[in-house]
Symmetry: C2
Subunit: 341 residues, 2 copies
C-alpha cells in the first residue's frame, strides 16, 4: 500500500509501505475512507518535536474494517468505524472512569500511520465504534473529525466545565478551538468569546456559535474578556494552543472558581504556582479521551445535529498529503482533508 | 489592648496596641475568645516571606461581638461568631458561586490582627457566622478551627473532589493535612492514606479516619501509594504543604482522571506543563473560601459530630504567643491555641 512518512522537518513523503497485517489477535485492519493532518503533526513538521527516525504519520481515521484478529468479538469486517489516536481496552478501571487515553493498556491508535490506504488498529473492540450503517458520503468528513479534532474540542469544553448559560472563552482559533466553540454551544453555553485575528476562522467560529470575537492578544486580550464579563472573567476557558502565552491568557481570562480546559500539547509551559494559587481556577486537560465521547458524537453527526466537517477547508487526494502539511503550516488552510483514491 | 506583632524573622512580640475601632459602617469589633498560630504565619517567621514593616499577626478567630457599624444588619453585639482570614460581602457573584476568598470586595479578615484581645472585622454581615447560642467552653477550640485550618482542610478535600468510597492521599501532616483527613472521612472516603513520619501526627491522623500511613517521601512515597491502589494512584489527593516536592508528589500520586486539591500557599512552585498534560489530573486550590463552609462546619461541631479541636496539642495564655510560634517552628507542637486572659 501507500502511506505517509515524515523524514524530518518539512519532509513528508507519500510512499510505498508494507501492507499492515494483524499482529495481535485483538487487532483490526481498516481501509481508510478519509484521513487528515492534525495540528499536532505540525510540531515535528516544524522541527519543534524532534524525530529520531522516519515516522509513519496520521492518527485520525475513519474507514471500513477489512479483517479482524481472532479475539475481536464485536467489530466485524464491513463495518464503518471511527477510532482515535490512542487505542484503549475500554474495560480497565481508568477507561471505565472515562479516561481512555490513559488506559492501562494504552497503545498508539494507528501505529502503522493513518495518512495511508490501510491501517492496523490495536485493541479493536475497545477502540473502534461502528456507525449505525455505512454513512452517506457527505457525513464522512464530520465522522472523521470525531476521531480527534472534535473529540478533543469536546473534551476541552467538558474539562472547562461548560454548563448551560455559561460564558466561555476560547484561546486558539485552530480546528480544535473552533470545534471547542461548537462543543460549548452544544453544552448550552450562552456566550462564547473567541480570540482570533483571522477573518476566515472568525467566520467559522460565528457559524459554530461564537457570540463575540476578541482580536487582542496577551494582557490586552485578557482585559477585553474581563470587560465583556463584568470584570470577572469567563466561567470556562478552552486552551487549544499549548504555549506558555496561551496558558497564561487562559488562566487569567477565567473568573475565580472558573475552569480552564487545556488540550494543546503543552510545549515548554511552566505554570507559576503563586499566581495559579490566587487565581482560584480549576485546571484540567491532557490528551482527549475521545473514545468516551464517540458514541454521543457519532449520534449527533449521524442525525445531522452538528456539522463539524466544516473545519476542513482544503480537500486533497491522499497522495498530495505533503501539500496538506504545507497549507496548514503556512496557515493557508485550517485543516486538510485527505481522500484516498 | 494588647496584641501580637511580628517585627522580623523569629521576632514576635505581644505588646500594647491601639484599641480597634469601627472605621467603616460595615465593621464589627469582636473580643477574641481564642486565637491561634497558623502554619502560614511560619512563612514570614522563618524569613521565607519578607516583611516590609512590623505586622500585626493572627487571622483565625472566634469571639464575642462588642460593637457593630451602622450598616451592619444581621450581626449583633453579644453574639458568638466565627469568621475567616478574608472578609467577604457574601453577595457578589463570586461569593454566590462559593469563592468568598476571591470576593470582589475582599479585604483582610482581621486587619488589626487576631492574636490579640480585640479585633476589627470588616464586612461583618458577609464575613461572620454566629453560633446558635454562646458555646460551651469545650467547643471553642473546634469552632476556632472552622475559621481557617478546618475550613482549609475541608476545601482541600472538596477541591480534590472527594466522593463516597474514594481513595484519598494526603500530602502534609500539619494541622491542615490532618483536618483534610477528617474532612475526607466526613465526605465518605473509604481509604485515606497519609504521608507522615511523625508518630504523634500519625496517631491523630488515624483518630481522624486515616486508614494507611506512608512514611516514604518523594518518588518512593508515590510508589508506595501506587502499590496501595492497584498501580493506579489515588482518586483524590490533598496537597497541604505548598512546596515543589509536595506538589509533584501529589500530582504523581493521583490516578488519571483524579484530582489534586492544593491549599498550601505555593512557594516557588512551577508546575511542568508536559508532565501535567499527560497526568490527566484535575488541579484546583488556593485560599480556602472558608465562609462557604462555615454554616455546615459550625453545625457539625455544635452537634459534636466532629472534634477538630484535637489538632491543638499546646495551649498557652495569649501573652505567651511567642512560645507558640517557637513550638510550631520547632515542630514541638502541631498547632498552638492561645487563650486571652
Amino acid at each position: 500500500m501507500k502511506g505517509t512518512v515524515m523524514y524530518g522537518p518539512r519532509d513528508v513523503r507519500f510512499e510505498e509501505r508494507p501492507d499492515p497485517k494483524i499482529i495481535e489477535p485483538t487487532d483490526a485492519i481498516i481501509k481508510l475512507s478519509a484521513a487528515c493532518v492534525c495540528g499536532s503533526d505540525l510540531w515535528p513538521y516544524r522541527g519543534i518535536d524532534e524525530l529520531k527516525q522516519p515516522m509513519p504519520m496520521g492518527h485520525e481515521y475513519v474507514g471500513i474494517v477489512q479483517e479482524v484478529g481472532s479475539q475481536v468479538k464485536h467489530i466485524k469486517p464491513g463495518q464503518f468505524v471511527v477510532g482515535s489516536f490512542f487505542a484503549s481496552d475500554n474495560t480497565c478501571e481508568i477507561c471505565q472512569s472515562g479516561y481512555h487515553s490513559s488506559c492501562v493498556n494504552r497503545q498508539p491508535g494507528a501505529p502503522t500511520g493513518a495518512q495511508a490506504e490501510y491501517a492496523r488498529i490495536p485493541l479493536a473492540d475497545g477502540t473502534l465504534v461502528p456507525t449505525p450503517d455505512l454513512p452517506p458520503e457527505d457525513l464522512i468528513p464530520s465522522l472523521l473529525t470525531a476521531s480527534d479534532v472534535l473529540g478533543t474540542g469536546w473534551f476541552a469544553a467538558d474539562a472547562a466545565n461548560v454548563k448551560p448559560g455559561a460564558t466561555v472563552a476560547v484561546v486558539g482559533d485552530g480546528a480544535v478551538g473552533l470545534l471547542g466553540v461548537l462543543s460549548a454551544k452544544q453544552m448550552g453555553a450562552e456566550r462564547i468569546i473567541v480570540m482570533s485575528r483571522h477573518p476566515d476562522r472568525q467566520k467559522l467560529a460565528l457559524e459554530f456559535g461564537a457570540t463575540d470575537i476578541v482580536t487582542e492578544r496577551g494582557d490586552e486580550g485578557v482585559a477585553h474578556i474581563k470587560e465583556l464579563t463584568d470584570g470577572l472573567g469567563a466561567h470556562s476557558v478552552i486552551e487549544a494552543v499549548g504555549t506558555q502565552e496561551a496558558m497564561m491568557q487562559s488562566i487569567r481570562a477565567a473568573r475565580p472558581g472558573g475552569s480552564v480546559g487545556f488540550v494543546g500539547v503543552l510545549h515548554g509551559v511552566e505554570i507559576p504556582g503563586w499566581e495559579f494559587f490566587f487565581s482560584h481556577v480549576h485546571l484540567h486537560g491532557g490528551p482527549a479521551p475521545v473514545r468516551r465521547y464517540l458514541p454521543h458524537l457519532i449520534d449527533l453527526i449521524w442525525n445531522r445535529k452538528i456539522n463539524p466537517g466544516k473545519v476542513f477547508d482544503l480537500t486533497l487526494p491522499l497522495e498530495q498529503v505533503a501539500e496538506g502539511y504545507r497549507a496548514m503550516d503556512e496557515r493557508r488552510a485550517i485543516k486538510a482533508l485527505l481522500i484516498p483514491s
